[in-house]
């Protein structure tokens, strides 16, 4: 891409889309929905401000400065602004593209660079390496260390992130991917055939959750195919600003899954789902529009899929619990899946469902944000915990591993009694 002219003062091709930035008419409707703006009251930490800064770089008004780099990583990429924007601006995507630019503008050097490249380009893309060469617990911590080294000169991090990372770690079971048979037959009358996209964090940290997902799918009458060769969806790479590796992972998964004859490609990780649904845009230049469109159409979050198919309720057992639901940003804002999980929860007999105030407000996890910006993350989390407290729920249901980690940790820290479960664990309880 070296021969390609860069837009304005962006140091690298693959810039944020200029028309997309011009679409912002600065009405400010995004401001009250942006957790970092609400936290700081600083316009540059708002979606409108971030887009204005990126546009200023594109317009040669400013260089790609350290402040823009910082804003691109301080953005939670929660996409709440996209939901609120009548003009169709996607500030989160603009910031993702800026993260990529940031690595060009402020290149890492030496061991830190090698470590980042190893994690993003070697380890994460290789499921075997992920599972065998490094303990998952250590992986998560190392990601934090890697970040710390890279950012320590900008942010005054206390040592608490390390305690936090350790404290967040759930009880680890052996990874699920090697254990799952490639084909698992449907139970009862078969209603269809689905491929299961098993995310890295799910297989490594929440294997028992994904086991429930598979159980629910099969008991609902779906044959489940889990291709062993599948790779990371690319979300961590996009998040860290490595668009090239994201594209090669996307390419691989696209070809792998499109060879399967399935009705849908189901995932139980909101982050993976959002990322998979963005392949169409990411690989646009390949020109394979029909294949990409069909892939997009097949990608379904587990809630979206089950709600669409209709939940078979005749064999569900009652779950006598008071339940509330936290919406993962990458499910409600990035994928527009908001009503379906609630409908599923309410369909389980015995459930006393309580709506959570500000259910779609970010929990402060946001990939590695919770470790990078521990203080800010805590403030966002506290707001969430207060709302959870007010529901009087016993169970907090969610649908994304990042939220799951953060909320479980937050509730434990605050001494609150709620247990966090993935929606398929709840459905699993009812399935028996």
């Amino acid at each position: 891409m070296a021969e390609k002219q860069c837009l304005g003062n962006f140091p690298l091709a693959d810039e944020p889309n200029y028309e997309g930035m011009l679409q912002c008419m600065r009405c400010g409707f995004c401001l009250p929905t942006c957790p970092t703006y609400v936290l700081t009251g600083r316009e540059r930490s708002s979606p409108r401000g971030r887009v204005a800064l990126a546009k200023a770089v594109a317009d040669d008004q400013i260089d790609f400065t350290g402040a823009l780099k910082e804003e691109s990583f301080f953005c939670l990429d929660c996409r709440a602004c996209s939901t609120s924007c009548p003009s169709g601006v996607h500030a989160g995507q603009v910031m993702e593209a800026c993260r990529n630019q940031a690595h060009e503008a402020f290149p890492l050097t030496g061991a830190v660079r090698k470590f980042r490249e190893f994690v993003l380009q070697r380890m994460l893309p290789s499921p075997d390496l992920l599972e065998t060469s490094m303990l998952p617990a250590r992986l998560y911590q190392k990601l934090g260390i890697q970040w710390l080294i890279r950012h320590s000169h900008i942010l005054k991090l206390g040592p608490e992130w390390m305690t936090k990372a350790e404290g967040m770690m759930p009880e680890l079971h052996p990874p699920l991917r090697p254990q799952l048979p490639e084909v698992i037959p449907a139970e009862g009358e078969q209603r269809g055939r689905v491929a299961f996209f098993l995310g890295c964090i799910m297989t490594l940290m929440y294997p028992e959750v994904s086991r429930q997902t598979v159980k629910v799918l099969t008991s609902q009458g779906f044959e489940v195919i889990t291709p062993k060769e599948q790779k990371c969806c690319g979300a961590p790479h996009l998040n860290e600003g490595d668009r090239e590796t994201t594209r090669s992972l996307a390419r691989f998964n696209l070809d792998l899954f499109m060879e399967l004859e399935v009705d849908a490609i189901v995932t139980d990780c909101a982050g993976c789902g959002a990322s998979l649904k963005e392949y169409e845009e990411l690989l646009e230049e390949s020109g394979e529009h029909d294949k990409l469109a069909l892939f997009h159409k097949r990608i379904k979050d587990i809630s979206e899929f089950l709600a669409e198919q209709g939940l078979r309720t005749y064999n569900l057992k009652p779950v006598e619990k008071v339940v509330t639901y936290h919406e993962p940003c990458h499910l409600c804002h990035a994928q527009g899946v908001s009503k379906q999980p609630r409908d599923l929860i309410k369909a389980i007999p015995g459930i006393d469902f309580r709506e959570l105030n500000e259910a779609s407000w970010c929990c402060g996890s946001a990939a590695t944000f919770s470790l990078k910006y521990t203080g800010e993350s805590q403030q966002i989390l506290d707001r969430k915990l207060e709302n959870i407290q007010a529901t009087g729920a016993e169970l907090l249901v969610t649908a994304n591993p990042g939220c799951h980690l953060q909320l479980a940790w937050g509730l434990k820290q605050a001494g609150m009694p709620q247990e966090v479960v993935h929606i398929t664990e709840l459905l699993g309880m009812a399935t028996g």
Binding site: E19, L22, Q23, C24, M25, R26, C27, G28, F29, L31, P32, G41, R42, E43, R44, S46, R48, G49, A52, L53, A56, Q61, I62, T65, A67, L68, E71, C85, P86, S87, G88
Partner: protein, 468 residues
Amino acid sequence: MISKSAIQNLIDKLGAKNVLHEQEDLITFGYDATPEIQYLPDVVVFPTESEHVVEVVNFAREEGLPIVPRGSGTGLSGGSVAARGGIVLCLTRLNRILEIDEENLTATAQAGVVTLDFFDAVMAKGLFYPPDPGSQKISTLGGNIAEDAGGLRGLKYGVTRDYVMALNGVLGDGLTFTTGGKSVKDVAGYALKDLLVGSEGTLGIITEATFKLIPPPQAKRTLLAYFRDTRTAGQAVANIIAAKIIPSTLEIMDNATIRCVEGYAKIGLPLEMAALLLIEVDGHHAAVVEEADDVRAVLERVGAAEIHEAADTEHANQLAAARRTALSALARVSPTTLLEDATVPRSRLAETFDEIERLSEKFQLKVGTFGHAGDGNLHPTVLCDERNRDEMERAHAFYHELYDKVLAWGGTVSGEHGIGLAKKDYLERQVGAGGVNIMRRIKRSFDPHGVLNPGKIFNDEATEETRG
């Protein structure tokens, strides 16, 4: 340029957290929601106490820097943009609701309180604050007062001015003032608060305000009427008013607006219709039933293609919320949305629609029109691209000619967005050189040193605009 020691001086007064001066902050406090307008301030300050405002005003006078008061930056005439640099005084951290007085039906709040937060807080006490500008989710009360913001309920309930009972603030020479109070009647001297409302930050910086509240309406019904041509929709509005019915809301959207709003909100608006009216009647249960029937009868007589009623409150709220997104939603289809705020006597609405249609053809422009039809307040919005100079010139010519007609009909160049930077030329056409001169004299008496938002509403006598 502001000196380093001057910035340090501000930091000493307000604290480092409340003084921003990095390039990236200046850029992002250099705009509001007005297209084509961006100027960098020298520094941005956030007072957290009213006393800070006095200190900043005194500082600005000593340094010879202009002060531009700002809330959330949602204005549509460039009023909160630092056109001559200087200090942007951002009031969003003066954001406490100080009192809700249930005996006097008033509430007092600082200028930086968000409009909708204020509405919710008084509603929780069973009281109603009607002004509801499109940006209410983030706009501030101070900004609403400075621009005399309207909203969807203006027709029946009036605009911000009608609810302001008292103001506290700071003048350009650093003097603090209080004007008005909780008394329902007050004719003691000049009505200074009425001068300050709508003064766009040029006469004083409002730090605190007391508002009149009313009991909320007991019942509400929401009707949607669809039309095959915009002229008939305009006629329907005039006929409803002529039938002596005052709905709380009487909003119009033309086809371009309907399509954009539906593209965002997805609530089943009619994509094939030329225009729709969103009509709400509220009040006592019995009166509401009668008024809704009367409105329906007028709509049937004038020839509305379809008439629907909102199924429930949730649906009604969805419709109102969707209408509020109209301007931003229009931005979906073009890089630039150039919007105006023409307001005409309501009997002229149908003709105004004809004129908009004629002019958009003449100048070969794509125009989406929506607005508070019941107030005669329309927002014809040119959907254009600021990179296309020729198109931008045609867009400005479109407005120029439209305002000829609007003024000839006894209308106004701004119903609710203010003059700011964007409409200075139009103001003089409306009020004449004499009118502008009186305004200059008033400004001088409030702001003898000319530090408060200079160059807004009208140019200073001596200096024509130099920065650009």
